[in-house]
Symmetry: C2
Subunit: 217 residues, 2 copies
DNA sequence: GTCTATAAACAGATAGAC
DNA sequence: GTCTATCTGTTTATAGAC
């Protein structure tokens, strides 16, 4: 056992997953070499093949680690609201937490960058894994909240598209962050700036929910 | 001269830029090999070094070609509106055109995919080129429309962030298209589906503009 | 300008000592 | 489990014939 309570082998695996997530996210899967990943993790190159079977195995392990981590966050969010008002508040809290997570937290930047690269990839067998393990469960849960908040079918086409539009607003502040920083004249998105972005997106969320309710028969 | 009025050398350059844009966008810069690009373009591998000085030179040429193409589209849009109502209609038209461009047009998919990969790249000297030549002029023009439509300062922080949020809604239907298709149970986003997406985003746009006006002093 | 042939560097994977 | 050393294939870039 080491200081953090993990055996040597588990430490090696975690270090490789951390380094892999970071470098795959910043350089792309093809652009990150196994030598660089091993060097960043402080382990030997051969450890990648030994522990994960190869570079593709490490990629899959990174996806599964991210899925487990995001799943744990969702579980901490608490039980499903039962009133429309509570559902709206939960949606607003999700937007605020997501903006902060995406834009500020250093640890999350690597995760977000890696995930977004996997999402934008049109090809590759792992895209179904990303969808099934990460995107679909989260999206479906938010659709449930949206349906409850507006009194509409949670699985209607309109609801599913509305949730994607809301997601798009949030994650552009990570995807396009290099462009946002230049246009805003910022060096980083600090907590204050993230708060002002979150205020704006919450206002947009309320407006979109109200527009949905207004269109009801 | 050939059929389309270009000399042989110019044809080679254009074919390489087309193939490079497509493959860089789909596979990433590191993931697309010069052999594959040359093969797709139907030219010899050595032509890349001869015409562009190397792989990085081709990358820069692709960025410049996209900038020129998008600039031409904006010029066709016509003169700046002068009334708030006309500005709102112009914004709605931009959203509809952008959704269709992003989601449907086959030729545009390669351009969008390549551009989005360059935008998300944190490193590399070309990111400033992308911002100055492509993102900044377009964003500033939309901010002008937003300010006119709402009666607010076009360069205020709120306006600039609002425009980024609007952009985020639109481009997620390209960035996250593999996820959107799976969640919606679609094979492609056809013109009808793109129209329904555009309807939703225009409704969100109107709601966001109204919320901005409501907050005025 | 376009081609073939090749150089030089680098990739991921693996065998075997410890 | 971790290391060194090495194998095999692929990469970009280039030299030189045509």
């Amino acid at each position: 056992m080491t200081d953090d309570g993990t055996k040597g082998a588990e430490r090696t695996r975690e270090a490789l997953i951390d380094a892999g997530t970071d470098l795959f996210g910043r350089l792309g899967f093809a652009g990150a070499s196994t030598r660089e990943i091993a060097g960043r993790a402080g382990v030997n190159i051969a450890a990648i093949a030994y522990h994960f079977g190869g570079k593709e195995g490490l990629r899959l392990a990174c996806i599964e680690a991210i899925g487990a981590r995001l799943g744990a966050i969702v579980e901490r969010a608490g039980p499903m609201p039962v009133t429309p008002h509570a559902a709206k508040l939960r949606l607003e809290a999700i937007v605020r937490a997501a903006v902060t997570f995406m834009a500020v937290e250093a640890r999350a930047q690597a995760i977000a960058a890696f995930l977004l690269r996997e999402i934008t990839t049109e090809t590759g067998p792992l895209i179904d894994t990303v969808f099934q393990r990460i995107v679909e469960p989260r999206h479906r849960a938010v659709c449930q909240l949206w349906g409850l908040a507006t009194g509409t079918d949670p699985e209607s086409e309109e609801t599913r598209l509305s949730v994607f539009a809301m997601i798009g607003q949030v994650i552009y502040f990570r995807i396009g962050q290099p462009m946002v920083l230049r246009r805003m004249g910022w060096d980083v998105i600090d907590v204050n700036a993230a708060g002002r972005i979150a205020d704006l997106l919450v206002r947009n969320l309320r407006a979109a929910l109200a527009a949905t309710e207004r269109d009801l028969p």
